[in-house]
Symmetry: C2
Subunit: 341 residues, 2 copies
DNA sequence: CGTTAGCACTCGTCAGTGTTGAGTGCTAAC
DNA sequence: GTTAGCACTCAACACTGACGAGTGCTAACG
């Protein structure tokens, strides 16, 4: 059996209705809808077909139908008609972003808030991976006897820092000049080149071998590892407003997932370029999120490095709106952050 | 009517029981308890008295009694017998803290996790207020044409940074030497002295008046304002495990409060020195948290500046354990963080 | 032959009802 | 002063029947 136009129409109507009401939708409801000119009986026949094809499911006899994950997949692939955000909203979003743009992390945080606010779902933003950034400046600052704080500034204005041990007897001025050398040698180098540059430096400046060794180790670790603070979550309480989470246990396990940044990172794993990626239900690999959908987009900082922004919500999600918002937000974020470049 | 020893004993037994079960406790339950050698009937008479005195309440006739806020207050003030954490646990906590002690914010974050893990409630930690810290180092780093990143390192190893505009025509070396001057002039100065020092600098170096002006403004703002990232929350999902939050709406409003850092800050407002502060139910001023108790302690960094750590849970909270954990944690945190000094 | 009206059937929801058991307050006896 | 006994209260629970939303099937209609 194939899907003809009428089946598409009816399926779409069912999904649209279910997205807003979260209640199984019956034939009469669809029949009454404008744009569908058939009687409930006809609709019922079609619904029966759609169920056989795996697009609909019935929670129990004598209940209406609800869309299956397969239906959502079809919906986002073919049936969706992307709407543009209205100008007011665009304006508002942009304002919120630029407003606090003193600092990259601040921007990202408020972006998460705006996202979850605009969609009423939970938003997640992953900061650009350090490895894809370039070093702009390295600075050692003495904080204690044999301890210094190493500060790494990248081309996106993102700052990373770590404590390192330094040999005894180095005063602030020494660290100052070492920083200078480090910066000169590492500036604008991508990750691959850092190790190379260090090798050269080690040859030239044998007297600070231990310090440099530790510094290299810390830089590499920082560049590669992604640490917790790189993930920002907004509106985690939002999902509790939806009936699918009125069961406290479901809600709790959902929130527990949000607290484990590792899982979140896994879920948001790369999606190329500017496009929108949609994972419906079990399509994302985390069992605890199997009745969630995850929509992600990406944003750019500078030319290469990019981060991910996404929305997590029930499979019954307003895909239309979420896609619009994410798309717009991705661009806006890229704009704002690339100013620093 | 006065509280005699037997009333104390019974009240304590009731609270102990209610804390663990969350169910109204009846006379028979108490009577069976070891240490209480009276029949249910006697207990009933005493309970009746305690109710009249406002220490107990009955959800409805023919239900057991539950402790009132007044009872909890009495409990924490007089009846509590602080227990020491067992050595294993102390050891474990310390390990977790020291383990990741490369960076102040990392320590604080893992402290929050340990806290909520050890208590099964929600934990909140406020980083030391910047105003109480001393500046250790100031560094300007060029990031774009007319933009620089100003990095402020404090004596606790806490790093703050902000974008500032710089006059055209300043290259990295210029910023370098300005940073040097800034550091020399501001190092080890507390907040009050910063403005004064700036005034002097402005007199000496008239040519960079605008840059210095902006820098001062940013520093002052950073020192005074407390920004969102200063508050770390752990185990926000923990509370959902308790029956008092099995109502999704309650849970949601609780989580909403956690997301508004301003409210949290208000709730955790200062409590002098090392002591433990307990606010039961309406004693904290936030209506949304009126059926929560909040227990806070503080930790020190260096000599003056201190931060707050706290636990938020249902009024029916295991005060004994929470107090022990907070007390130990406050000390441990002070130890770990003061190493940087 | 596609569409629709009619009808019997299913099943979740809701209100009403009786039973059970935990717990109380009171009284009288120890 | 303490306790046993008893009548009373009331939430929780299971059961019931009425109701209604919704379905599938069949027969009639254009």
């Amino acid at each position: 059996m194939q899907l003809d136009d009428r089946k598409y129409l009816i399926l779409q109507a069912i999904i649209d209705d279910y997205i807003t009401t979260a209640m199984p939708v019956g034939s009469r409801t669809i029949s009454r809808k404008s744009g569908v000119g058939y009687s409930p009986a006809t609709i019922r026949n079609e619904m029966s077909d759609l169920e056989e094809l795996g697009y609909l499911a019935q929670p129990h006899t004598s209940a209406g139908r609800i869309p299956s994950n397969k239906a959502y997949r079809l919906y986002v692939d073919h049936l969706i008609k992307t709407v543009k955000l209205n100008p007011d909203e665009r304006e508002r979003i942009h304002e919120h972003l630029v407003d606090k743009s003193r600092r990259v992390e601040g921007v990202i945080r408020s972006a998460a808030d705006v996202l979850s606010d605009a969609t009423k779902y939970t938003s997640v933003i992953v900061a650009p991976k350090l490895g894809t950034l370039r070093i702009k400046h390295v600075q050692l600052v003495p904080v204690a006897e044999k301890t210094a704080l190493m500060i790494i500034v990248t081309n996106a204005g993102i700052v990373k820092d770590a404590m390192i041990r330094v040999p005894e007897g180095l005063d602030a001025d020494d660290l100052y000049s070492i920083s200078r050398v480090l910066t000169q040698n590492l500036a604008d180098k991508p990750l691959e080149a850092v190790r190379q540059a260090f090798a050269e430096m080690l040859r030239d400046a044998a007297d600070h071998r231990r310090l440099l060794g530790e510094a290299l180790q810390v830089i590499e670790q920082k560049l590669e590892s992604e640490d917790q603070s790189d993930i920002i979550i907004g509106g985690s309480a939002n999902l509790l407003g939806y009936p699918e989470y009125s069961d406290v246990n479901k809600a709790r396990s959902f929130l527990a997932v949000l607290e484990s940044k590792d899982t979140i990172r896994k879920v948001l794993s790369r999606n190329g370029g500017m496009e929108i990626t949609i994972r419906i239900g079990p399509e994302n690999q985390v069992p605890a999120l199997n009745d969630c959908s995850i929509v992600t987009a990406s944003y750019r900082v500078g030319d290469h490095s990019n981060g991910t922004l996404g929305i997590i919500g029930p499979t019954r999600m307003n895909y239309n709106r979420v896609i619009s918002v994410l798309d717009f937000m991705g661009r806006a974020l890229s704009d704002v952050l690339s100013e620093y470049k």
